[in-house]
Symmetry: C2
């Protein structure tokens, strides 16, 4: 199995590459080669199969990023929410033109590859009172979400035309992200766990009773791998899936933090930020995920397990990286 | 009021230009200038105000197409359904890149113009049993529909950002179209009325009990003009409207034809065409249009009036054009 990860230098891309390198297989099929593509050539994990790494603009995707014989493309390359809001042209270039470039690369292949695309709950609105069903309409209140919803439409159409075989996952807010705070409006949902565990103070821009739809990196990784190998015949025309995250309050995240590291939450400063809240408050608080569960997507773990997983998987590497 | 019609050489574009020229005003405001843009510079009606005409590629829109001071843009430029299905790249270029070019032109203006965009029921699926509500999800089963749905998302987002002030009308199948059969999969819905009235034989590729959501050119024109001048404050984030067409069977269209011209339907040959049916059978048979009616969009006339309007408005010009 020949695999490409676009956005292979990012948080999920690197975790996925490491997992494929460790397993040597995906869905029981041995991995023959892996290609990692990002703005800059991503780091390469140790593996028993060849790994190619290359850098560039996803909207001007080089042929080598999705070479002949590619079976699976993980299309994770994106400009995130606050950055796409700050720079409309950049968001359009990466999130829309980038997806068109992926479609065009797949059209050149002899066999339509599976394409696993990370869309986002930011493509929906509805806000704190909304629990959305599988047939909910995407009415995005931010450019990132609009671009992701449009990319889903193009991938649905490309699948119908036989150019590729897409599964689009509208990922919840993934916490806890390792590394540093980033430009996503949702960055603070990770920071309120990660920073205190590093002994650092952090700001909480929304109230404790603010509800958010989250998943862990472990669950997101599991969903990506399931999407890459599942039987897509049952999907029909509709190639988009709301995977089974969990709807939690910020207060519950803080409580889980304290349960894992007593008193850690004293490093959290309540600092309301209307600009951040204006973006995240538009996202729905939860989803009914009957379709995803019926298609074999595993439920997310509970919050305490999620915080413990961050400590086990990422805390030391994050501490080392940040010095 | 300075007005631009993109796709100004097309069927609705020419009707709209003629109407503006005749009225000298839109929504009670005098027209100061009109710019007509299409692939080739469109014909210009006689008017008391200056009319500029220019030709080119909408995806590389010249500045003169939406000049400084433009108040209203009718964005009707499109590659239609069967043509977008036959040529994926052309459909993407005109229907998606073209809309991006319109957005970029509007961003340059000092005041965000009203943009009236013609989307389509082809952006929905559901088929013969579906009566869709205002919150129905767009799950297009053809490239044209996917491109139109994506363009709606970009216009919604551009409105939210303050680049422009969009109203997107998901037009029903508009019958009776003048002129010749075209590459739209829905072309036959007009041909079965127009061709017999010209004394010409025509093929009917679906069964008589096939249901279709239609509107007349007169109604479509009325909706375009209402969308150009209505108060958009009530729309909120959601800039897309399903206007109040009528759900009819092909048999009812044929009966209305015979009521207007006795025996005309003997020129209709039942000639099932699975390729045509595969496209149109995916479109929903009807819509609930509470939102549109609440926003002041007038209901469509009945079928007999619709056929009589074609005879009154377009039959002689079509006969002359086709020789």
């Amino acid at each position: 199995m020949n695999i490409t990860i676009l956005g292979g230098g990012g948080f999920l891309g690197q975790k996925l590459a490491a997992r494929l390198a460790a397993d040597g297989a995906l869905g029981g099929t041995p991995v023959s080669s892996l290609t990692l593509f990002d703005l800059h050539a991503p780091p390469v994990p140790k593996a028993a199969f060849p790994i190619h790494t290359l850098g560039g603009d996803v909207a001007a995707l080089p042929d080598a990023a999705i070479p002949a014989g590619t079976d699976v493309v993980f299309h994770l390359a994106a400009v995130v929410s606050a950055a796409a809001e700050a720079d409309y042209d950049l968001g359009r270039r990466v999130n829309v033109r980038g997806t068109d470039a992926v479609i065009d690369a797949c059209r050149k292949l002899a066999k339509p590859p599976r394409v696993v695309f990370t869309s986002s709950i930011a493509s929906f609105s509805g806000g704190q009172t909304a629990i959305l069903g599988d047939q909910a309409r995407q009415l995005p209140a931010n450019s990132y979400g609009a671009q992701k919803a449009a990319a889903e439409l193009f991938l649905l159409d490309a699948t119908r035309r036989g150019f590729l075989d897409a599964v689009c996952l509208r990922l919840p807010t993934v916490i806890v992200r390792p590394g540093r705070p980033n430009k996503a409006a949702s960055s603070f949902f990770s920071s309120i766990v990660r920073e205190p565990l590093l002994g650092l103070a952090t700001d909480l821009p929304v109230a404790d009773d603010f509800k958010v739809w989250v998943s862990s990196p472990r669950s997101a990784l599991g969903w990506l791998m399931h999407a890459a190998t599942m039987d897509t015949a049952a999907l029909g025309l509709d190639r988009s899936i709301n995977p089974p995250g969990i709807s939690v309050t910020v207060g519950a995240i803080v409580a889980a933090l304290d349960q894992v590291r007593q008193g850690a939450s004293t490093l959290i400063n309540r600092a309301p930020d209307p600009a951040i809240e204006a973006i995240v408050a538009g996202w729905p608080a939860g989803f009914e995920t009957d379709r995803a569960r019926g298609l074999g997507f595993a439920p997310n773990e509970d919050l305490v397990t999620l915080v413990r997983s961050f400590v086990a998987d990422d805390l030391e590497a994050t501490r080392a990286e940040r010095g």
